[in-house]
């Protein structure tokens, strides 16, 4: 059935080859993939299958060796690095496995980081930061703390707040529960579901079937090729198992 929703990102015949000395590795092979408005997608695959490479392509962090990436129908190969950075800042939010928070900065300062390059006035920032933290399931009392004073789950919620502070339509998460215990992982997944309900498209890369089963669609990638889309099995999801 043809999806009537707006396409935000489209990968068309994308190949990605990495070359180290004489050895080349094809990380993505003829990948065609679409991210729609309001998507809640899991990309699953074993280690080295190319799922992070796919996420990097979707996140405009890397350019394909061949093929095209269309972002809101615009061919990104024609965009400069500066324009790509601007798109990432406004349209995309990133969540990483190891949180990647800056420990010398407070939680507030970490969350406001994406607002700095677009010079959001300081008077607006406090409200935006607080709103993002609450939306990410965090607590306002964390704002003055340093990330290393928080638990892993709490840090990941701060990382999610940083990803959504600029209200991007798409949130990309690379193994967001990989470093968390099951209870914290459940909270993080619930946060993503909540964000999706509030209109964000969420793409989660994971090798954990229980996490993938929490999403609305699952794409399996193997040896750089997308094997197909699968319906999740809610009874095997992390949320139902932790209930």
């Amino acid at each position: 059935m043809e999806n009537s929703k707006k396409i935000l990102i489209e990968l068309v015949n994308v190949y990605k080859e990495y070359r180290v000395s004489e050895i080349s590795t094809l990380a993505l092979k003829n990948v065609n993939f679409k991210v729609y408005e309001g998507d809640l997608v899991a990309i699953m695959g074993p280690s080295g299958s190319g799922k992070t490479t796919l996420l990097n392509m979707l996140g405009l962090l890397d350019r394909p060796t061949s093929g095209k990436i269309l972002f809101e129908d615009k061919d990104t190969s024609k965009l400069s690095d500066k324009e790509l950075a601007l798109l990432r800042n406004i349209k995309l939010g990133f969540v990483f496995q190891i949180f990647n928070l800056v420990n010398r900065l407070t939680v507030f300062e970490n969350i406001e980081l994406p607002l700095i390059p677009r010079a959001v006035p300081r008077s607006l920032r406090a409200e935006m930061v607080k709103e993002a933290l609450l939306k990410a399931g965090g607590e306002l009392e964390w704002l003055k703390k340093k990330p290393n004073q928080l638990s892993g789950g709490q840090q990941q919620r701060v990382a999610i707040a940083r990803a959504i502070v600029g209200n991007p339509p798409i949130v990309l998460a690379d193994e967001p529960t990989g470093n968390l215990d099951r209870a914290s992982a459940k909270i993080i997944i619930e946060t993503f579901l909540n964000l999706n309900r509030k209109g964000h498209s969420v793409i989660v890369v994971t090798h954990d079937p229980e996490v993938a089963n929490c999403m609305r669609n699952i794409y399996v990638i193997r040896d750089g090729a997308i094997m197909g889309a699968y319906e999740p099995n809610p009874s095997e999801s992390l949320i139902s198992k932790m209930m």
Partner: protein, 404 residues
């Protein structure tokens, strides 16, 4: 507005980054501070003393030349006539000079005695002023320097019309055969001239040429004092006199002395500047090492920043600002310590051998020196930070994010 928001946010982020690696940043800042410290301290002191010395020599008259007979040569009327016949010469007058001892109560002080045409004296040394009395006309009346009339404590010992008793060497056939006392009146007292390098009017008793001959009993002129029409003639007159008299006369042009001193002080200034530059060069290496380490440690963080929308130029600016902030702190520290050091150094004073003159001058810390030092130090930040900042800005985000 957005530029200032961005700028202040970047400064804040830079300060935070430096504060995280406080010990390393402090050591780098100390390294940076050495250059401005040395430059401000040495330059201000050297330029203060050199400017003073040049100014003093220059005040003796840029169009003045003095000639002195070499051993076994006597200046006579023929020489005087020849000098006066040169077209560049405005005036040429002979003078007598000797050393004497002045009795001032129980103390005896060493004084110079110059018998010279008074009008020529005041014409040649423009800054020489009379504080008490007028230019005397009588044979027995003298003009005395400040230190002759006043004791070191500022108490006046000789007033106008007081008698000075001078003990001078008795010279017969060009040899000192004994001593004799002469008495002269104080006809005028000079204002304090300050430390002088070639002539010291403060410790001098000036007499008329007539008195030089009759009272001092000197038959041979000690020299001829010459004024040329324009300072630009000095070189040619000196050259003419040297070629005519070769080893008979010593020809001294005050402007040449000023030039020589100037070139020596310029050389000292250059050596000082070069030494400071070495310190600056070391600081550049220090900043570069600190920033390269810092960039390596923060590679992943740089990747995250790029991922969330920082452009390469913004990353470059952030890293560069860190090194500039360090160099600005280093410059402030160095300039402050340099200022303190300069005052301590100049408070020790400078004794000029030969004339026994001790100068104690405030260091010459000018806005130009501060700006020059500040610019050089900021340049350290730019140079030292340029390569690490460029490298950081070129790291592809996915490479940075994979960095362990």
């Amino acid at each position: 507005m957005s530029f200032y928001t961005l700028f202040f946010d970047f400064i804040r982020l830079s300060l935070k980054a430096l504060s995280e690696r406080r010990a390393r940043a402090i050591l780098t800042i100390v390294g940076i501070a050495i250059g401005p410290l040395v430059l401000v301290m040495m330059s201000s002191v050297v330029s203060s003393y050199s400017d003073y010395i040049v100014e003093r020599v220059t005040s003796l008259g840029q169009n003045a030349i003095a000639v002195f007979p070499m051993e076994n040569y006597k200046i006579d009327g023929e020489d005087l006539d020849f000098i006066r016949s040169l077209p560049e010469i405005a005036r040429a007058e002979p003078f007598f000079s000797t050393q004497g001892i002045l009795k001032r109560g129980t103390e005896e002080i060493k004084v110079s005695i110059f018998a010279i045409d008074y009008t020529l004296l005041f014409e040649a040394i423009g800054s020489l002023k009379i504080s008490e009395g007028d230019v005397p006309s009588g044979l027995l009346y003298s003009i005395v320097g400040r230190k002759v009339s006043f004791r070191d404590g500022g108490e006046q010992y000789f007033a106008l019309n007081d008698i000075l008793t001078l003990t001078i060497p008795k010279i017969e056939s060009g040899k000192i055969t004994g001593r004799k006392n002469i008495n002269v009146y104080v006809g005028a007292i000079l204002e304090e001239y300050g430390g002088a390098l070639i002539v010291d009017p403060d410790s001098t008793v000036f007499l008329s040429p007539e008195a030089g001959k009759k009272l001092l009993g000197m038959k041979d002129w000690s020299g001829i004092f010459i004024l040329v029409h324009d300072p630009s003639f000095v070189r040619s007159v000196v050259s003419t006199l040297r070629s005519k008299y070769e080893n008979k006369l010593q020809v001294i042009a005050f402007s040449a002395i000023a030039e020589a001193i100037s070139s020596v002080t310029d050389a000292i200034g250059f050596i000082n500047f070069s030494t400071s530059l070495s310190a600056f060069a070391v600081a550049v290496a220090g900043v570069a090492a600190t920033m390269i380490t810092s960039v390596m440690e923060r590679t992943r963080e740089i990747g995250v920043m790029k991922a969330i929308g920082y452009t390469s130029i913004q990353i470059l600016t952030l890293i560069l600002l860190e090194s500039i902030v360090m160099s600005l702190i280093g410059a402030s520290l160095g300039i402050s310590l340099g200022t303190v050091g300069a005052h301590m150094l100049s408070s020790r004073g400078l004794t000029i051998g030969g004339v026994g003159l001790t100068l104690q001058l405030a260091p010459k810390i000018t806005p130009t020196l501060i700006l020059q030092t500040l610019s050089l130090t900021v340049m350290i930040g730019l140079l030292g930070g340029a390569l690490p900042a460029y490298r950081a800005s070129r790291i592809p985000p996915i490479v940075a994010l994979r960095y362990e």
